[in-house]
Subunit: 242 residues, 2 copies
Amino acid sequence: MINKNELKYIQSFAHKKQWAQESVFIVEGPKLVAELLDSDWIIDKIYANVEWADMQTDPSLNIQVVEDFELEKMTQMQKANQVIAIVEKKLYMKPIEFETQFTLVLDGIQDPGNMGTIIRTADWFGCTQIITSEDTANLYNPKVIQSTMGSFLRVRVASMDIAIVLKAANLPIYGALLEGSSIYQTNLPTAGFVVIGNESKGIRPEIISLITQAISIPKFGSAESLNAAVATGVILSHWKSQ
Amino acid sequence: MINKNELKYIQSFAHKKQWAQESVFIVEGPKLVAELLDSDWIIDKIYANVEWADMQTDPSLNIQVVEDFELEKMTQMQKANQVIAIVEKKLYMKPIEFETQFTLVLDGIQDPGNMGTIIRTADWFGCTQIITSEDTANLYNPKVIQSTMGSFLRVRVASMDIAIVLKAANLPIYGALLEGSSIYQTNLPTAGFVVIGNESKGIRPEIISLITQAISIPKFGSAESLNAAVATGVILSHWKSQ
């Protein structure tokens, strides 16, 4: 049995006020939790049904067995899925390494599902570092976490003042714009930044002014815009295949 | 003023039972409706506020002026946006031309937002023909229409038994699979089919058996899967840049 206060606490993560301020976040489902257990992320507590709990062999896990109907009350998914873990956030307060890596920069990507898809796309193409403007959907929004399908475990996502970071780093800054060199004629570097902006508003002017090379995905038809996750995929695919 | 029956009729398009069986569908907002007026699609009726109506110069338009609070009751968006049009569906019952075109084939893409994004992506890369399995999200689902951002006006989308079509056409059939020739080493043809499957279940076995060349987007990291719209973008980008 779970007590009422704990139940309320877990349910409160549905609200931004809660998930934004807490030092922990929630991960659901056996597949994701298995990946977490295999990672260096710290799990504070696990709520699971008896079937899931019985399969665990690590005695150090802090598992509380609960009934399926209790999991249904706790879940933020449409249907509970065996296990809910309370995991400590990583805040990446220490400096990030930019000189040796290709870093994706997200400026104002507000849709959480799109944000999760971008993280998953970066993971697919082996881009393991993303920095995001403070108005980009937060990694710890439960909708972002779930839509990464586990890719948040492998891609380092840090929210920061991207203008300061871009100014400080002496590296090429590519920006995906409607007008720019065709990506098909551009060689993307091993180390550097690629900025992707908000789908309707684009990259903010103060960030545009820091871009050292504008690139664009040529438009062959008449679509109004390209979805930000699709644009990210096209650019990263080009980065890997060039 | 709009009468109660008309209001109920328009509101009923929020439900699949209604939008699936009616011969018309709903398009909202001045930008999309302006594009419609510029196209060969037939608009049966337009409900608009006085500001929008006053700007129209074509006397043949069947416009009913309504109050803003009435539009708010009619809209399926979070907020009404000046104009709602009732448009006749195109059913594409006549044979589609396959021999001279590159046709995207969607097998089991169920998420309407993703479906709309795929149509928009096809439009961006100049791919103007899509055929979809009967279990793919329907074009006339209001969420699909809105998320195409007008691209449904330029891309012909037809729902049909794709197995029959693929069997009948004597053209190369490429299928996006986890195992296959790297797209970076594949030259996609001017005419032919590329099949994209459901993100978690993949392409159905009966369709896989019809594929003449399996292609894949190489995975450089460890993501579980690539979003179907992102995969479509990467493949179409390669098709245009090869």
